[in-house]
Symmetry: C2
Subunit: 495 residues, 2 copies
């Protein structure tokens, strides 16, 4: 057995155990009874430590060196090997007891958050969130030393391989140079038009679910390889080849659950389109979170808030809910989909204000990781930042600094990928329409196959065989920038 | 760290990984989309092999020897150590590649069975079942050599620690000496009474579920530590501290789902009553399958087919389904619960004919394991055996040799524990009522606390700190025999 083959076999096992961890995570959010949280945290930790032990096996250093000197490797094997090394570097930076402690503390805090958010009880959440933050900083410290980078970049690299705060500062700086002006102009423009009518509810949950499933079928989601369920915070999870998305329902509107399903389906199509022959290998995984988010936003924001989409979607929704009249026209529902508002909740935000929500979180988490902002001061800093960036102040922490699952579950360094994803989505959709001009007219018929085909070839099937930057450049002919996103906002909201 | 402490730590991890495997198994039967079966089989196998590696770590032999020479161990630690050795013996008997191959083949066959049974396609199932049987025999061979026992006893020990076919032959022989006569007499006796009336359906599934949940609450099931769902074959699964039962519903009768829920709740109460401080240790697990089945049958058959139970249950069912009239009286529903019939399906069988179904399977699987019966001849042998033992012949394999999940999923040597459990249940319930005379009158009020209290103390809380035989003898004052079961059948069906 060559050194590379040995690594391949070892990472096959690791990949499958990670898939198991993915299933546990899905169950925890969707199915698990509340009293099982502590036991589940310990089970999850045992699995994570087992994976960590395999990643930090002392034999790996020699195997990596041996494989890297093997000239017979194919380009794909070489790319896989580079990802194996990246995995190994992340794992060896952190001691096993810290990995185990983090898993327990994160699971415990996440469960507490579910209740504390409902109760608007920041004081109840804070001690557990402090434990999470302490261990996240300890992890960042360990990785930063190994990689020779800042604490924040060490965390960012977990979600966005090769990502640098310096680059994000540049992109977000470009964005911030026109965004406040665009928000105001979009709102002003909107005020000159008739307000969108709200279809009359209530909208039964089973019908909302049926509508979501219709869209999932149209988009090409394979229900023999995935599910749609309900959770507090919508997500796309499960395991490779068994991709499970969630949404949440309110009976006074179907719009949020519908857009949530479209968003998560975008994530799911990426997962289901990854190269199946490399399913359990590092190079067979999704490239990183900004590209992942680009896939959800390309579906939700670019494709499914277009005028063409509502030609398909409006009659379907009217049929399922038995709606009729001016609130149910494609034109009205499209106008509803493009409503811009200075709102409190990130996941409900429109695409014009969304980047402002993300910039806030990015600034705050950088400050907390750097030790420049304490959890005592977080609610105040949040509210100040909301005033400055979005122009509204939350009346309660429930709708303020407690709204997101990310920090309680230990996902620090994740937030900027949302807006990098939005910019990537705009650039990719522009390129896709240029390459396959019939994409919009086919979407109007409910046929997403031309779009999905382009994405399968240019994004999904690439796995992690190239860097995010190389994949985006190859697909669009240029590096990621703000131009396509800016043009998109102008065309849609300011014209 | 002492040798014992080291073993304790290692088995803590193993216990948690087994809990994870339990969750995966639940998901596979209840939630997983069909197209994910192959990937899931591979994930499950990776987890099983990981557990197997930990159980067969070469360091364990010395640690076991060291711990067994440690005079400072408490009696509980010593009992735990004995269970650790038993686990180790089972694991070291079987090579890792056989464990992995079995997991894949079993998962694949189980999924095939789900469809093949629906299609009545024994020919389609047979090749995969042959693979399962081949690997089961290979496993039995490896264990039999290690333990110096027969192939069948080696398999039996996996489900019934210390169980011997010789003892089962004796118990089942005692049973067979009176059972055919009892079946005939019970049917004759029944014919002298008015037939039970069947309440008119349909019975909506949501109401059946609501009724099942009412019973689960009454029995003391903690819904913050478990769930009720649906699967093709009802079971009790999940993980320690997160115990999940399933049932299946038909809308023409609520009786089967109700009895299924009561049965699985009996299993669940045992799991939830195990000593929590030892949750992930071998001695903290349920003792074995005959004791497990005794707990489900004590609830379903002994307690919940009594006249007292229907004083509580009949008005509740009538209220939920809006039923009234003679079919809904406690007396009629009780008579319905005691109907004896020579039926085709084991899981629907009454407690008089049930042992005949089990003796058939026990004989057939012993013959198949011994190599005296081929899968080609199984359907014929099944039908012959049904004629002889139960007195009816299935019109199709779907309702014949394909009806059970056990063989397709690789659980050979399991069946006899059902009837050993039935005998144990009778003996335990007799002892419980002698010790706590108010048990029946409290059941009539829907109060199961006195019964649950006795079970918690005498069975559930014992974990695996003593042998099945010692637990039964301590709880009832005598070793397991057929007398209590025989008396029970006489009193209920022949008087």
């Amino acid at each position: 057995m060559t050194a590379y083959t040995s690594l391949h076999t070892r990472f096959d096992r690791i990949g499958k155990l990670r898939a198991v961890a993915g299933m546990l995570g899905w169950d925890m959010a969707v199915m698990m009874p509340t009293g099982s949280a502590e036991a589940r945290g310990a089970q999850y930790a045992a699995l994570e430590v087992t994976i960590h032990e395999k990643l930090t096996d002392p034999a790996l250093a020699d195997l990596l060196a041996g494989a890297e000197g093997d000239n017979a490797l194919s380009p794909q094997e070489r790319a896989n090997l580079a990802e194996i090394r990246r995995n190994w570097l992340h794992a060896t930076a952190v001691p096993a007891d810290l990995v185990e402690a983090s898993a327990i503390v994160n699971a415990d805090c996440e469960m507490t958050w579910r209740q504390a958010r409902a109760d608007n009880d920041y004081a109840g959440l804070k001690p557990k969130l402090q434990k999470v933050l302490d261990l996240v900083r300890e992890t960042a410290q360990a990785k930063a030393e190994k990689f020779g980078c800042s604490l924040y970049d060490a965390l960012l690299d977990q979600y966005e391989p090769g990502g640098k705060a310096e680059d994000i500062d540049k992109l977000f700086g470009d964005l911030a140079s026109f965004l406040p002006d665009y928000i105001q102009r979009a709102i002003d423009k909107q005020a000159t038009r008739p307000a969108a009518l709200l279809p009359d509810g209530p909208f039964p949950i089973d019908k909302q679910k049926a509508l979501g499933e219709k869209f999932m079928h149209a988009l090409g989601f394979d229900f023999t390889r995935g599910r749609l369920d309900v959770s507090t915070h919508p997500f796309c999870g499960g395991a490779p080849g068994d991709v499970r998305i969630t949404t949440r329902y309110g009976t006074d509107s179907f719009f949020e659950s519908m857009m949530g399903v479209l968003h998560e389906t975008g994530h799911a199509l990426y997962e289901l389109g990854l190269p199946a022959d490399w399913r359990d290998q590092p190079a067979g995984q999704a490239r990183g979170m900004s590209l992942h988010e680009s896939q959800s936003l390309l579906i939700e924001m670019q494709a499914c808030r277009s005028a063409e989409f509502f030609q398909f979607a409006a009659p379907l929704a009217a049929e399922i809910f038995g709606g009729s009249g001016p609130a149910w026209t494609a034109e009205n529902l499209h106008r509803r989909a493009l409503t811009v508002e200075r709102g409190l909740i990130r996941v409900n935000a429109d695409e014009v204000t969304y980047p402002a929500h993300v910039i806030l979180r990015y600034r705050l988490e950088r400050a907390m990781i750097a030790g420049d902002l304490s959890l005592d001061d977080l609610p105040g800093a949040w509210n100040d930042g909301m005033q400055e960036l979005v122009g509204v102040v939350p009346p309660s922490d429930k709708d303020g600094c407690m709204q997101d699952i990310h920090w309680p579950m230990g996902a620090w360094g994740y937030f900027p990928t949302y807006t990098m994803g939005a910019m990537t989505a705009a650039q990719l959709f522009q390129a896709a329409k240029l390459a396959v001009p019939e994409i919009p007219v086919e979407i109007a018929k409910g046929n997403f196959a031309p779009l999905l085909g382009w994405l399968r070839t240019n994004i999904h099937g690439k796995g992690s065989f190239a860097s995010t930057a190389d994949i985006v450049t190859a697909a669009t002919g240029k590096p990621l920038g703000v131009d396509a996103f800016r043009t998109h906002l102008e065309t849609r909201y300011l014209a």
